[in-house]
Amino acid sequence: MEDSMKKMKAIISAVVTLAMAVSALGQSGGSAQSSETLIKNATIMTASHGTIKNGSILIRNGKIAAVGADVKATDPNARIIDATGKYVTPGIIDCHSHTAATGSINEGSLSVTAMVRIQDVVEPEHPNIYRQLAGGLTTVNVLHGSANAIGGQNAVLKLKHGKPVDEWFVTDAPPGIKFALGENPKRSNFQPQPGQQRRYPATRMGVEEVIREAFVQAKEYMAEWQEYEKKKSADPKAIPPRRDLKLEALAEILQGKRLIHAHCYRSDEILMLLTLGDELGFKIKTLQHVLEGYKVAKEIAAHKAGASTFADSWSYKMEAFDAIPYNMAVMASRGVVVTINSDSDERARRLYLEAPKAMKYGGVSEEEALKMITLNAAI
């Protein structure tokens, strides 16, 4: 255990080196500098193919061209980084972040806000970005808040500190959307403003009904468009239906083009959502927080949902009390793809310390723990 903690610490500096190397590459694009960078003499934790001692990584045009014990640069002018005594891991991925979003991350006026997009408010100005990079974080899944049963659309970003924001978006990442269950969407922890009505729903039952209602509407919307597509060539009077940004996003979920990231805590609500998905024809991609996931790990695995959780953050509200540190290990052992997220600009700086907790509580292997903050999130 001692060893692995030491190792994790050593990794930090290496990951930073990698991140800096990549960003240096980007900056030198088009100049006389070489398009190649070679990291050599490193202990490489690949997360997918074990650990390579004294290995090298060749980076060409921003991509990993080769990894192995005998990798050499083809360009004699390649930038060489000697990583003797250092560890290299894949850049850490945070599956649940709100970083770099300006303004409120909740469009809290309605219970269904599938039309709003995090991509419209990405403004990476804050020093937090730099701090997170220093903690080895390179990629974030920036989610809408959890105020609504169906929240807004997320954005996947690479933390390209110093680059124009347009270059931060991972454009080939599948689009997603935030869902939320429990206390937040029913707003039991919030006092309405004086003079304001309480928002529907106010119970867990209501949350379920709001989601069902939204998908019924989305199916009608899809049918309307299908009808138009069918008749548009024959009927000169046909004009496209009204484009509804909210229902369009929900329709994308039903078509499998948009992934659901659902904020949840309790096992009953997790089962509710999985069952509702089966009923209405949608899949949950990730359950977020999912502190009681260990109770329903088999069901989560059967739905092929991922679980993005905290290592040991709990008891901050009623629905977050029945949590155990073995959650990650138990879910992983039942075949759930587990990731560890931050949900916080502060915790995001030390995800490399969160991962080993899965090793301590439940004996997850080193590589499996590393995957929880890298490869698993990419899946």
């Binding site: 991350i105 709003v116 990405v122 304001q196 496209p240």
Partner: protein, 583 residues
């Protein structure tokens, strides 16, 4: 030739009258009568130099022997300008002074084209007071009735079909002050809503609203405001606002399609309902009406340009404090900018010991350099006072000049560029024959600190210059000696476009400090940074609203037991209030 003929006729007509009914040929022959006419003109010019209030008729004027800045970089060292019927009738070194003109001796003065403030709220009627919207009693947190909430929510969204030109209210001290500072024309836009409505270019002239309008509509104005706080409906986040704007344009596209189909095939097609809000978006979608986005930050500017790209709009940016950071993008997309010179400053109520973040300090140093950077990048820009007092307008542009902007570029932004951006370059922006006679006569170089404005012409009419009553703050003016005591319970009525909102402000002395609370429909909150300077009270307040707190600043002027002033609520805008302290 026609023009000269016309002038001759005018001259003779007037001379005939002044000459006591003499026939023209007799005038020409009679030397004595010529002397009479000369004496008359002399008297007239004396009259003009005497203190005058606003002239009632559209007169004929000649400004002679003045230095004339025809346009940036083009100056006539000593020339004459003739004004007739609101237009510039002649300009040049040898322009002939008509006999009927009131002559202004321009010796030692410099004539500039009238300045244009390219984004204001001037001439917009005060919001109607809607009483009976509030339940609850005085002194306790009043609850908004459902109707009031609805109307607040609707106002937060705005109405793109609103047109300033239809609601213009002439006169008022705001217009007087702007004009006295040399601003003769202004783009004016409504204050409230995401879709602010259609703005108009107005001349800051007399009492006839219809005659003030130079061009309308000039643009469809949009801002990224959210409806937190007093309202609270959708959208209450920035991303919600972006979605609301996009959905509105998609709805307008659908409306256009329905209308087009109905125009083509009337039989067998359901008749679309008329929708004035969506109809008002169509000229923008066709690219005929530019869309003016209020956007100060780099993020807001990018958001605006993304929306413009998505719907092929013709965007303009106003505010643009951080425009210099996207100058290349603005240049590449050929987007005109209306740059606010209301530069951030250290808050007046901050004590010398209060520290500010490096970020804030850097912003304060960098933003005044923005104009020079835009000019360097080749972005076409005009200026707006940005809500700062008209007195500060030129002073702030002077700061831009001190920070690297050339004087010619500064003048260009205030005149030619503004006229081009706002679509009035045929009639405004330079001193040329045939253009509208909007002129200012300055005691010297417009951007020199000691220069004052001596005469202002709008639409060919001369207007009295109202000097500010108090010296400019922070420029060596004497501070009021004794501070008034602001302690007590103040009942304030805040004017919002949806009616009055009652607020109770309780100020107390706490040792040598001031403290207090504010009770509003949003509940009771503590005031911070309460200070009194002379009779000016300042306080800041943080109002909980929709997850985020709204930071507000209250600035009030106390006279006896009454107070008036402004409450600024960040992106929600500024609201005027009046109130009293019942004893």
């Amino acid at each position: 030739m026609n023009r000269i003929d016309f002038k001759m006729t005018q001259d003779t007509k007037l001379l005939r009258i002044e000459g006591g009914g003499l026939r023209m040929n007799k005038v020409k022959r009679t030397r004595r009568c010529l002397e009479c006419a000369g004496l008359f003109l002399l008297l007239l010019s004396l009259l003009i130099n005497a203190p005058l209030s606003r002239m009632d008729s559209r007169g004929v004027y000649a400004i002679r022997d003045a230095q004339i800045v025809v346009s940036p970089g083009k100056t006539i060292p000593k020339g004459t300008i003739v004004i007739r019927d609101g237009l510039i009738a002649d300009v040049g070194e040898n322009a002939r002074i008509p006999a009927d003109a009131r002559v202004i001796d321009g010796k030692g003065l410099t004539v500039y084209p009238g300045l244009i403030d390219a984004y204001t709220n001037l001439g917009i009627a005060q919001p109607q007071q809607q009483e009976q919207q509030r339940g609850g009693g005085r002194g306790q947190a009043a609850q908004l009735s459902p109707e009031a909430q609805q109307s607040l929510a609707a106002a937060a969204l705005g109405d793109p079909s609103d047109s300033v030109a239809d609601e213009l209210r002439p006169g008022g001290s705001a217009i007087d002050d702007a004009r006295s500072a040399g601003v003769t024309s202004a783009l004016t836009s409504p204050r409230q809503g995401i879709f602010l409505g259609r703005s108009a270019l107005i001349n800051l002239s007399g009492e006839d609203a219809a005659r003030m309008v130079v061009r309308s509509p000039v643009s469809l104005a949009i801002q990224f405001s959210t409806s937190s706080g007093f309202a609270g409906g959708y959208p209450n986040s920035l991303m919600g606002t972006v979605s609301y704007i996009r959905q509105s344009f998609y709805d307008a596209i659908r409306y256009r399609d329905e209308m087009d189909r109905y125009e083509k095939i009337k039989r067998g097609v359901p008749r679309p309902e008329h929708n004035k809000k969506l109809a008002a978006l169509l000229p923008a979608l066709r690219g005929e009406l530019p869309v003016l986005f209020s956007a100060n930050t780099e993020g807001d500017i990018r958001r605006a340009l993304n929306i413009a790209d998505e719907f092929r709009l013709k965007p303009m940016i106003t505010g643009a404090h951080y425009g210099y950071r996207v100058a290349d993008l603005l240049k590449q997309k050929n987007v005109p900018v209306i740059l606010s010179v209301n530069f951030p400053r250290r808050p007046a109520d901050m004590s010398d010991d209060d520290e500010e973040s490096l970020r804030v300090l850097r912003q304060r140093a960098e933003i005044p350099k923005g104009a020079a950077r835009l000019a360097q990048a080749g972005v076409k820009f005009a200026f707006t006072a940005g809500g700062a007092s008209p007195r500060d307008f030129i002073a702030n542009i002077r700061r831009a000049v001190e920070n690297g902007l050339s004087k010619d570029d500064a003048l260009r932004a205030l005149t030619v560029n503004a006229a081009e951006i706002l679509g009035v370059s045929e009639q405004l922006g330079t001193i040329e024959t045939g253009k509208i006679a909007n002129l200012i006569l300055a005691s010297g170089d417009l951007f020199a600190r000691e220069t004052t404005i001596k005469h202002v012409f709008v639409d060919g009419e001369q207007f009295e210059i109202k000097r500010p009553e108090t010296p400019e703050p922070g420029r060596g003016g004497a501070r009021p000696a004794a501070a008034v005591n602001p302690a007590g319970a103040w009942d304030l009525n805040i004017q919002t476009p949806q009616g009055e909102i009652s607020v109770k402000l309780t100020i107390r002395r706490d040792g040598d400090q001031l403290a207090g609370t504010m009770t509003s429909p949003m509940g009771t909150v503590n005031l911070s940074r309460v200070s009194i300077n002379g009779n000016q009270l300042r306080a800041t307040v943080s109002i909980p609203g929709g997850g985020d707190n709204i930071e507000g600043t209250i600035v009030g002027t106390i006279e006896g037991d009454s107070m008036r002033g402004t409450m600024s609520l960040g992106a929600m805008g500024s609201f005027e209030f009046t109130g009293s302290r019942p004893r």
